[in-house]
């Protein structure tokens, strides 16, 4: 066997082992912590597969923020199976058989795909057009130029999700004020995270980084603030918060419409401007993603959330 494959086999084995341990653990807190470790390991795998953009995003979003959201949700309860119906032995066998057969089938298809004749890929086109995209990081070019539609709709998904969070729940109780040591750490960490987010946002044009990584890093700063007892977690309240949440989608849409009115297609940037346009869109997207994630961590609408109809609110609570 080729010895250079050893690290890959080791990583793959550890991924499967961690996923198995996280999913089969009866103690949910343990499961979540194992899941965070799984995410961090996955970030290493992305780096191994030459996807540094994804490694950054996975470490910040997949491991960090997902873990934070799941851990804070553990406080809400809902972890224990209250009326758990254990599947019968026959059903367990059937499920295991199904899983085994499907794994083999998917594996077979992947085998055929990887060892098939090489086909024309979008990669050549993506790399050939890079000079005209306004940025030199191919992933950013795909996200904000070639496939800007996808990213616009993704921001809509984020907006829809955070609106759902706001509609169904109120903010959780905050944490008590941090002790002096944690307080000192916060004074260092939060500015550092903000500067890092700014750097990731700027560097995304020509190196790994971009709006998503920056937004997640900024959200991490908010979560640290909240854990230290700053209940607002750095978010403004009232109308300004609403503007912040829609900024990404709004700016993106506005630019797209402006382009289609000025003769080009929807989201077809004029070539000379594309670099600056992409940067402005990314700044707005970063702000919106960070605000949405921090608000989701806070758990729902804040006390200062302007309501259209106070009576409807009271009815909903008493029902």
């Amino acid at each position: 066997m080729n010895l250079t494959l050893l690290p890959d086999l080791l990583l793959a084995g550890m991924l499967i082992g961690l996923a198995w341990a996280a999913l089969s653990s009866d103690d949910l807190r343990r499961g979540v912590v194992l899941f965070i470790a799984f995410g961090l390991l996955l970030a290493i795998v992305w780096a191994r597969l030459l996807a540094p953009d994804l490694a950054l995003a996975e470490a910040a979003i997949g491991a960090g923020l997902s873990g934070a959201l799941l851990l804070v949700a553990l406080r809400d309860g809902g972890g224990a199976d209250q009326h758990a119906t254990k599947p019968s032995t026959l059903n367990r066998w059937l499920i295991d058989l199904f899983v085994l057969v499907m794994t083999c089938l998917i594996g077979w298809v992947l085998w055929l795909t990887i060892y098939a004749e090489p086909v024309e890929r979008l990669a050549q086109l993506a790399n050939a057009m890079l000079d005209r995209s306004g940025v030199s990081n191919p992933v950013t070019a795909v996200l904000l130029n070639y496939r800007a539609y996808d990213t616009l709709l993704e921001l809509v998904v984020v907006l829809a999700a955070v609106l759902g969070v706001v509609v169904v729940g109120r903010e959780r109780r905050g944490y008590r004020e941090a002790g002096p040591v944690f307080h000192g750490l916060v004074h260092w960490l939060v500015p550092l995270l903000i500067v890092t987010a700014g750097y990731l946002l700027w560097v995304g044009a020509h190196a790994p980084g971009g709006a998503f990584q920056a937004g997640a890093t900024l959200a991490a700063a908010g979560i640290v603030l909240r854990l230290a007892g700053y209940d607002a977690a750095g978010l403004p309240d009232g109308r300004l918060l609403r503007w912040l949440l829609v900024a990404g989608t709004g700016v993106f849409l506005l630019f797209g419409l402006a382009m289609s009115f000025s003769g080009g297609g929807f989201l077809q940037y004029p070539e000379a401007w594309s670099g600056s346009l992409i940067l402005i869109i990314e700044v707005a997207a970063t702000a919106s993603i960070a605000a949405a994630l921090v608000l989701a961590y806070r758990g729902g609408r804040t006390d200062g959330w302007p309501l259209m109809d106070e009576k409807a609110e009271n009815r909903e609570v008493s029902s």
């Binding site: 080729n2 494959l5 890959d8 793959a12 499967i16 996923a19 996280a22 999913l23 949910l28 499961g31 799984f38 996955l42 795998v45 992305w46 597969l49 030459l50 996807a51 994804l54 979003i61 923020l65 997902s66 799941l70 949700a73 809400d76 309860g77 809902g78 972890g79 224990a80 199976d81 209250q82 758990a84 599947p87 499920i95 295991d96 899983v99 499907m102 794994t103 998917i106 594996g107 795909t113 990887i114 060892y115 890929r121 979008l122 990669a123 993506a126 790399n127 191919p138 992933v139 795909v142 993704e154 998904v157 999700a161 759902g164 969070v165 169904v168 729940g169 998503f212 989701a296 758990g299």
Partner: protein, 93 residues
């Protein structure tokens, strides 16, 4: 090529592990965890297919799709957690 195959197969195993846990577990939070592992499996398959050895440039299109997927996954997780919390509150009332 072998590296790509190793990680693609790992992705398939992770996906099916997630499906299995979704089918076997009853409570919402473990299922959510399982769905996230499912997603990670799909992402791994995507990225391993984009990898064509250390000498060739990787395909940026699947990378961008996975980046989008990561953000959508955490949005869906946040919404599911909020719904779960509301359900608990309603059960307690």
């Amino acid at each position: 090529m072998t590296q790509a195959l190793i990680y693609a197969l790992t992705g398939a195993v992770l996906f099916m592990l997630g499906v299995r846990a979704t089918l076997l577990r009853d409570a919402l939070l473990p299922r959510l965890l399982a769905l996230n592992v499912c997603g990670a499996g799909v992402f791994l398959i995507f990225v391993s297919l984009a990898y064509r050895g250390d000498s060739l440039p990787v395909d940026p299109v699947p990378h961008a799709l996975v980046l989008t997927g990561l953000v959508v996954a955490i949005s869906a997780t946040a919404l599911a957690l909020a719904l779960n919390r509301r359900l608990r509150e309603m059960a307690d009332e």
